[in-house]
């Protein structure tokens, strides 16, 4: 029971802090807005071509937004030596990882949900019918990204070159997530039957599980060095 309560406490603390200072969400939002604006003014394409390139644009925006948001997720723990407090906790350290991960996942998903209407607005997309499949794809892909991002944020937060190291570590390992996300998003946006792109979601789910399990296991060693 304490394990799950610990997860809930950590996620609660992260979401409440972010809600109050809005530091991450504003930088992520304006970065993504810039990406959307640049792409929307660079291309003036017909609806079919837009649907072809749209998944790439969406995941470029989400991917780089994730780098900004997830990269800073452990900074809050370093500011007042809170990592030290975590180190001296008797409870399971993996629960701290899962709490941070849960907070990051919900936070990232919320940012993505805010951004989707902007894609609709600037690219004249009609996604109302595909809203549920798109939400599913976003959730599954963001799950894996958050799992990796949380781990690498913890790994790099104490080093001086963290802003360089974080994307260097995160981006290569997130390639399978981006490939799966782009392909599944393409299927959803095109209005294809779910069975046509469900294998991509299955692939994403497999990577999600691998990333969470491995990160959960590694985190103990990162915190309790």
């Amino acid at each position: 029971m304490h394990f799950f309560r610990l997860i809930r406490w950590i996620a609660w603390k992260d979401l409440l802090s972010e809600y109050r200072n809005r530091e991450n969400v504003s930088s992520m939002f304006f970065f993504a807005l810039n990406v959307i604006l640049i792409f929307s003014f660079s291309f003036s394409l017909d609806p079919d071509t837009i649907k072809e390139i749209m998944p790439g644009i969406i995941w470029v925006a989400f991917g780089f937004t994730a780098i900004i948001g997830l990269g800073k997720s452990f900074l809050i723990e370093v500011n007042n030596d809170c990592m030290e407090y975590f180190q001296t906790l008797p409870g399971p350290k993996g629960a701290i990882y899962l709490g941070k991960f849960l907070g990051n996942f919900l936070f990232m998903l919320m940012v993505e949900i805010i951004l989707f209407p902007l894609f609709v607005l600037f690219f004249n997309l009609s996604i109302l019918d595909q809203a549920l499949p798109l939400l599913l794809v976003s959730s599954v892909a963001t799950f894996g990204l958050s799992a990796l991002g949380t781990l690498f944020s913890a790994l790099t937060v104490q080093i001086r070159a963290r802003e360089v190291m974080f994307p260097i570590l995160l981006l290569p390992l997130s390639v399978p997530i981006f490939i799966g996300a782009v392909e599944a998003t393409r299927g959803a946006l095109s209005g294809d039957p779910f069975s046509m792109y469900s294998h991509w979601i299955e692939l994403l789910t497999v990577f999600d599980v691998i990333f969470v399990v491995v990160s959960f296991w590694i985190f103990e060693f990162i915190l309790d060095y």
Partner: protein, 225 residues
């Protein structure tokens, strides 16, 4: 019974040896004050006992539990008030307490939190975000956490730092309350007069040599190191 027992503890950072085969024993219910010049290794010794550092050699026990093999059990028994405040700037004083205690698996009632905050003199700031607290108030908040957690062994790293005269008196009252209840306090300090009010035994750590003395000897000595 020994609450803290360190045997031939050594610790180096890079090529600088901070501790060289230091041994120390602190009895249950005792307040042991550790003096020494800056860089003598007082904090390092405390951090080894608090399971934040691993010694290069030597062994230690907390409440009879092996500090290397039974780290989780050791962590259940200890609490450290260090240089960091372990606070989240965007959470209120009360929320910070709820979080810090909650992640240790216990949910204190509002009345218990209020009592602890009142005892350390910051009850009226319960709803204030901790970013607005002074260093002294943050120290008081840490003491309030310790009062709620009631650890068997309390580590105070320069416990009087940042506290005003009233705060120092309050800290000493809390130390007395802890030791009278059978808890053990190991503190690093530079304030002889104030420490003499609560300490049962004194140790001076100079160049890895721990010289023990009585409180009277400490008070009467012209210089400790």
């Amino acid at each position: 019974m020994n609450a803290i027992r360190g045997i031939a503890l050594s610790k180096s950072f890079q090529h600088y040896q901070v501790l060289k085969e230091v041994s120390i024993e602190v009895m249950q219910g005792e307040c042991y004050a550790l003096f020494g010049p800056n860089g003598a290794g007082k904090t390092t010794l405390l951090r080894i006992f608090a399971t934040l550092h691993r010694p290069n050699s030597g062994t230690f026990e907390i409440m009879g539990m092996d500090g290397k093999r039974e780290r989780t059990k050791v962590r259940e028994a200890i609490f450290m008030i260090g240089h960091g405040s372990y606070l989240y700037d965007d959470l209120s004083v009360k929320e910070n307490i709820q979080f810090a205690i909650g992640i240790r698996g216990w949910n204190p009632s509002d009345a218990e939190i209020k009592k602890a905050l009142d005892q350390v003199g910051i009850g009226r700031f319960a709803r204030l975000r901790s970013r607005y607290l002074s260093a002294g108030m943050k120290k008081r908040l840490s003491i309030a956490k310790a009062l709620l957690i009631r650890p068997k062994v309390l580590f105070l790293d320069e416990g009087y730092a940042s506290l005003d005269e009233k705060g120092v008196g309050m800290m000493n009252e809390c130390i007395r309350e802890f030791t009278e209840a059978g808890a053990t306090v190991l503190m690093t300090t530079h304030n002889r007069a104030v420490t003499a009010e609560v300490a049962h035994r004194v140790g001076v750590l100079t160049r890895s040599v721990l010289t023990e003395m009585t409180v009277n000897e400490m008070v009467e000595a012209d210089a400790l190191f």
